[in-house]
């Protein structure tokens, strides 16, 4: 479905199965109200997240990307979030070079019990993206060619 014009922006979340996805569930069970923009993709571990997922989401029209995993030292797979942290930290520095404003991508740690913290993270990140507004889109007659070229470069 297209985003609700003037109401929502497109925000993609990548959440690890064990902590943050559980935290988002806990927030739901606790009925902690949140903005509706975010769509969550579940991955087994934040270490499973290829930084290219984030680039592809942004390139394909996402206005913001949020990644969340287990707190450092609390990873279900012992060390997955350490790998994630290195990659995501570099990704965050690298995105402005590609032309995406800092702040379109954030990563954080939320445990399965932290429903309230999850509510806060989602609310703040959604506000942040709404302040930035819709991400600049690749438009014009050559848009599809440009996109397929970029896609090919990322393969």
């Amino acid at each position: 479905m297209p985003v609700l014009e003037g109401k929502e922006l497109r925000i993609v979340g990548f959440l690890c199965n064990w902590c943050s996805y559980g935290g988002a569930d806990t927030a739901g069970v606790g009925r902690f109200n949140q903005p509706t923009d975010l769509r969550i993709i579940k991955v087994p571990c934040s270490g499973r997240i290829d930084p290219l997922f984030i680039v592809k989401a942004l390139m394909n029209g996402a206005d913001g990307v949020l990644v969340s995993g287990c707190h450092p030292r609390d990873c279900h797979y012992s060390e997955g979030n350490f790998y994630a942290r290195r990659r995501l930290e570099i990704m965050q520095k690298f995105l402005p070079i590609l032309g995406y404003e800092p702040g379109r991508f954030e990563y954080t740690w939320v445990s399965a019990s932290e429903g309230q913290r999850w509510q806060q993270v989602v609310t703040e990140f959604t506000d942040q993206i709404h302040k930035l507004g819709p991400a600049p889109k690749i438009v014009g007659p050559e848009a599809s060619d440009t996109l397929s070229l970029m896609q090919a470069a990322l393969k």
């Binding site: 479905m1 297209p2 609700l4 109401k7 929502e8 497109r10 993609v12 064990w18 902590c19 996805y21 559980g22 988002a24 569930d25 927030a27 739901g28 069970v29 009925r31 902690f32 109200n33 949140q34 903005p35 509706t36 769509r39 969550i40 993709i41 579940k42 991955v43 087994p44 571990c45 270490g47 499973r48 997240i49 290829d50 997922f53 592809k56 989401a57 394909n60 029209g61 996402a62 287990c70 030292r73 609390d74 990873c75 279900h76 797979y77 012992s78 060390e79 997955g80 790998y83 990659r87 445990s111 399965a112 019990s113 932290e114 509510q119």
Partner: protein, 652 residues
Amino acid sequence: MKIGVFVCHCGSNIEATVDTATVAAAAREFPGVVFATDTMYTCSEPGQDEIVDAIKEHNLDGIVVASCSPRMHEQTFRRTVERAGLNKYLFEMANIREHVSWIGKDREANTNKAVDLVRMASEKLMNNQPLYPKKFTINKRVLIIGGGVAGIQAALDCADGGLEVVMVEKTSTIGGKMAKLDKTFPTVDCSSCILGPRMVDVAQHPNITLYAFSEIEEINGYVGNFEIKVKKKATYVDWDACTGCGICMEKCPSKKATDTFNEEIDFTKAINIPFAQAIPKKAKIDPEFCTMLKKGKCGVCAKVCPSGCIDYEMKDEFITEKVGAIVTATGFDLFDWTVYEEYGGGRYPDVITSLQYERMLSASGPTGGHIKRPSDGKEPKDVVFIQCVGSRDKSVGRPYCTGFCCMYTAKQAILTKDHLPGSQSYVFYMDIRAAGKLYDEFTRRAMEEYDTNYIRGRVSMIYPKGDKLLVRGADTLMGTQVEVDADLVVLAVGAEASKGASKLAEKLRISYDSYGFYMEGHPKLKPVETNTAGVYLAGACQGPKDIPSSVAQGSAAAAKVLGLFSKDQLESDPQVSTVDIKRCIGCGKCIQTCPFGAIKEIDFRGMIKANVIETICQGCGICTSTCPQGAVQLQHSTDNQILSEVNALCQF
């Protein structure tokens, strides 16, 4: 692929804020979807039958259920599609309850979001492959961490069920908090009389190996095949030779050692046995207080020991144990009440904790069961009990109710009257929480038969007045201020997660809540399981619990372990990584990053390739995002599957 979509109302849980009929209608337009409907309760028997019937009628080969969290019902629906003859991995779930209907009331936005989530699920489903589990053999031994009453129960039940049990206890004796208690509520029977024989059973059971004064150093492996490194801390006494005669303790000249067993109301010797019924009944030296270990002079214990078992050179020892399941029963610790300045912050010797009072009441305690004021050793006349110290108090970060303090305070008030018939007890309480069999009757007995003065209100201040303590508080039922001249004040200190609980959780790879208590698999349906396969919980490590509940959990955890071990082989989760041998360039990066050592180098026609050992792989996918070639792919979370979800979201 022919996909069927089922959008669940969940009664009104989803339907109230999501237009499920619209979601189903929108789903019918998605590529691959040939059937979509909304149902009242998809997880109910008729709901599941509807899925089975639709699969048969429409020849479906993929199912999407949009309902609650997959953490709730993914397994349920996987079994449903399996029942209809489909591979259970040709199924996806869209979480439109926890992530949509429960977190907002905007019906339009919610419906729109639900449609997106269903689309993501169906796009991913089109990239799904049937997956098949492998079998692997398991080691039918169980590790119990913690030797309190919950751990003892779990150990004995497992051992009686024929399993080999390894028990690791941090202190030099098992028994835990219960061993420190004088009597138990609501029966007022002697704690050590009911626990003692169970402790002896642990020591004598042929299936139980006990490592006391030991800690868990390292945990590796996975369900069925854990490898545990146990640190046996140096006791400076050869426990194989020690008979527990206690002569060393009698003769030891260092008399000011901290007595943790007696909650520090007295001192013990530098070489000590915690209490007479200790299991194992062996002496250990506390190096902080031993003159020989500190200054190299003394050696009295070595001279008097009839079996010559003192060894001042002893070092920590490491032992490796292999087990197939772990029960953690690490219990709780008391809240540090000294943060309460209004109770004196620890300055007044006659303000003590309930557990200290328990040691005082106990006939095997340092006062021989006589109630004496710590300051002058006199018998108290007026005893004030203050409840909810470090419980139900947001200001100290402990908003939860410990749950058992109301009961033990009533018990201590009764025992006070039994010990000192001329005494008068006062209890300052917030509410009486006595939910349990015969519990409310018990607190009523304390009030009615034992003449305890229950005052509903908090204490604002305690300060010395002569040799007494003036306790000032409010009586909120009378609307007045109350002042009591107390001889002794007993604080009903609440429970908190045991020290080091979070460190152990990291080793076990289980989650804990914001207070440090371990998270159960599901708050209602999986009370003793964790989210890590093969790791179970028992007792107060999961949250404060009284003795009957801890024992029940110990037995429940044992039942889970016995159930797990009832098969000789376990089925591995097929959501594991596989290597595309044509794409693999043998760089070895996946081998370096795998936290489980599940990837090994193999020789393939003279070339180095990576190979995943499926039964060891835990399915984290770190290798997949590390592989520069995209040759290693985590099944069910492949690059294509995740990117199809990204595309489903962003390109429409």
